[in-house]
Symmetry: C2
Subunit: 172 residues, 2 copies
DNA sequence: AACACCGTTCACAATTTCGTGAAAGGCGCG
DNA sequence: CGCGCCTTTCACGAAATTGTGAACGGTGTT
C-alpha cells in the first residue's frame, strides 16, 4: 500500500502548524516558526531553501527571510557544499536549543541594562525605583539560573536519551 | 525649584517606552507592555484604569484590554475598594515575577504536549521523530529548571535586597 | 561566452493588529 | 429614582506585517 506517503505528509504539515502556532505565541514570526518546525520534524538533517519551500508549499521568497532569522538566532546553520550553487541549512541538533537559549538570554541582559537606566533616572528613594530594582534583580537572577541550566543541558540530554533507549529495550 | 515634575514625567515615559519595547520583543503586545512598565516605574502601588490612561496619555479604551491581559498573566491584581465605583489594579510586587513566570511555564508544558503528539504521529524510528523527542526533553528540562528557579526566587530576592541596603549604608 | 538554475531582493496586495471615538453598561450618590 | 462618573464594548480607520510574484544577481555548466 506504499504506506500512503501523502497521508504522512499532511500529518507532518498538521503538526508543523500546531508547533508553529505555539512558537508564535512565544514570540516568533509565522514563517520562521513553520520553517524550523518543518526542518525538525521532517527526516533530513539539511535542506536547501528550495526544499523548504516545496516541503511547506510556500514561495521561495518567504523562505529567504525566515532562514536568515533562524540562522541569526542559532536554530539553523548555513553551510556551503563545494561545487554546488545552493546553500544548505543544517540542523545541528546536538546543541540546537543550547544555542537558541543563549541568544535568548541576551534579551534578559538587555532588560537588566534598560532597568539600570531607569533606576538611575528615577532613584532608589522612590517606590517606583525600588520596584525597578527588584525587577532588575529578578531578571539578573533568571539570567544566571537559565545560563546554568543551559550549561547543564548536554549532560542531561545524554542521560534522558539513554533512559529512553533503556526503556525501549530493557536489559534489566 | 519644584524639581520640574514635567521633566520627570517625560523621563518616566521615555523609560516606559524603552522597557515596553523590550517586553514586546519578548512577545508581549504593545499596550500591556506600556501599562506594566508605567505601573512599575511610577510611584503608586495601585491604579485605577483612568489613572493609567491619563498617566500614559492614551484612551481609556486602550487600557481595558491591556489590564485584562495583565491580570490574566498575573502581573496585576484586580481589587475593589468597598464604596467606590472603579476597580483598582494592584502591583503585588513581592510575588509579581514569580506569578508571571509560572504562567509562562504553562507555555512550555504546552510545547511538551504538542511535541508528544508529533512524536506519536511520526515515530521514534525516524530522524525527525528523534529530533522531536530531543526537543521535547529540552522543553521539559527547561520547565523543571525554571520552576525550581522561580521557587528559589523569594529567598534570593530578600538576599539581594539586603545586599543593596548594606551597600547603601555600609556598617562594617 | 551564453545559458540555465537557484536564491535573494523589491514592490505590491491582503490580512491582521492596534488604538481611538462613540455608545452602552454598572454603580454609587443626590 | 434619576443623575453622573467611570469603565467596558463595539465598530471603524490607520498602521504594521505577511506572503506572493517578478525582476535581479551570482554561479556552475555546456
Amino acid at each position: 500500500m506504499d504506506s500512503d506517503v501523502d497521508g504522512e505528509r499532511i500529518a507532518l504539515l498538521r503538526f508543523v502548524e500546531r508547533f508553529a502556532l505555539a512558537l508564535r505565541e512565544a514570540g516568533m514570526a509565522p514563517m520562521p516558526a513553520r520553517v524550523i518546525a518543518f526542518a525538525l520534524a521532517d527526516d533530513a538533517d539539511r535542506y536547501t531553501a528550495g526544499e523548504l519551500a516545496r516541503g511547506l508549499g510556500v514561495s521561495p521568497a518567504a523562505i529567504s527571510g525566515a532562514v536568515r532569522y533562524l540562522v541569526h538566532v542559532g536554530l539553523l546553520l548555513r553551510e556551503r557544499e563545494p561545487g554546488t550553487r545552493s546553500d544548505l541549512y543544517v540542523l545541528d541538533d546536538r546543541d540546537l536549543w543550547s544555542r537558541y537559549m543563549t541568544a535568548e538570554l541576551a534579551l534578559l541582559q538587555r532588560f537588566v541594562q534598560i532597568l539600570d537606566g531607569g533606576i538611575e533616572a528615577i532613584g532608589l528613594d522612590r517606590p517606583g525605583g525600588r520596584r525597578l530594582a527588584e525587577t532588575r534583580d529578578f531578571m539578573a537572577f533568571l539570567d544566571e539560573e537559565m545560563g546554568e541550566a543551559v550549561r547543564r543541558w548536554p549532560a542531561e540530554r545524554d542521560r534522558r536519551a539513554a533512559a529512553r533507549s533503556a526503556e525501549a529495550s530493557p536489559a534489566g
